[in-house]
């Protein structure tokens, strides 16, 4: 298992409203796929004290619906969507909406590639649009002005 990288990595692209994340797991793609498309979700869509997914149901076939609910920072949330592509153990594509929040669903794509000793899982969460533009800085937005340089694309003429 020496080829497996230790850490998960997630990056955001502000301009495209896109998150790309990846992790290498020392288990076969079939095993990883099962964790993505079953109630096992409630064991890993979890970050103690931040969010905790408690329920998940899904009809894992193209056109089937899924739904998840839990608590994030003390407030209940419900996520829901539809499976667009189900191709075990290689690919799973589903729409994603926060109930009562999102104007349009984002699209979540999981890609699983076999690698030496396990699986590379890549998550692409695309089309994320902010629910509203805040008039000013609320307490939740901790991003400092210093980060603007990273946020703006570096297109120089």
């Amino acid at each position: 298992m020496s080829g497996i990288k230790t850490h998960a990595r997630a990056v955001a692209d502000v301009v495209d409203g896109l998150i790309v994340a990846s992790v290498e797991i020392a288990r076969a793609p079939e095993r990883v796929f099962q964790a993505l498309a079953s109630r096992e979700i409630i064991e890993w869509w979890v970050n103690p004290g931040v969010f905790d997914t408690r329920e998940w149901t899904g009809d894992v076939r193209v056109g089937g619906r899924w739904s998840a609910s839990g608590i994030a920072r003390g407030a209940p949330y419900t996520l829901e969507g539809e499976f667009l592509e189900v191709d075990p153990p290689r690919k799973l594509v589903q729409t994603w909406s926060r109930l009562g929040m999102d104007r349009e669903p984002s699209v979540l794509t999981y890609l699983l590639e076999p690698i030496d000793g396990g699986t590379r899982l890549t998550v692409r969460h695309a089309g994320i649009v902010a629910p509203e533009q805040r008039q000013g800085m609320s307490a939740g937005w901790r991003t400092s002005c210093d980060r603007l340089a990273e946020i703006l694309p570096t297109q120089k003429r």
Binding site: R27, V32, N47, V50, E132, G140, T143, R147, A149
Partner: protein, 106 residues
């Protein structure tokens, strides 16, 4: 949750490469429309149109100096976009870390 009008949406405003370049130029310092038009070798009406979109999304502010309007970048809407996305980024960072740990422990 209030619905927003498309024209105030920072995501849409920065979807255009010329507008991203204008913002990038304004990061170096405030400028008027004439200077920007010269910098971008485009017509002043074209630049004014882009500035209007950026102003409506509150990505730039304008101040009247004599007969000119001077434009400056306003980072706040982009920060809210970045802040919103950061929630998703940290969600996946934490979830994938946990998935790896759970599966490899079994």
């Amino acid at each position: 949750m209030s619905r927003i009008r498309a024209k105030t949406d920072a995501f849409r405003a920065i979807a255009d490469p010329t507008r991203r370049a204008i913002l990038d130029r304004l990061r170096a310092g405030p400028a008027n429309a004439g200077t920007l038009a010269a910098d971008f070798q485009s017509s002043r009406p074209a630049v004014s149109k882009h500035l209007k979109v950026l102003r409506e999304a509150r990505l730039v502010t304008d101040t009247k100096v004599g007969r000119e309007r001077v434009y400056a970048v306003n980072p706040v809407p982009l920060q809210s976009v970045a802040g919103w996305l950061e929630g998703y980024r940290s969600f996946w960072q934490a979830s994938l870390t946990r998935l790896k740990r759970n599966l490899e422990a079994k």
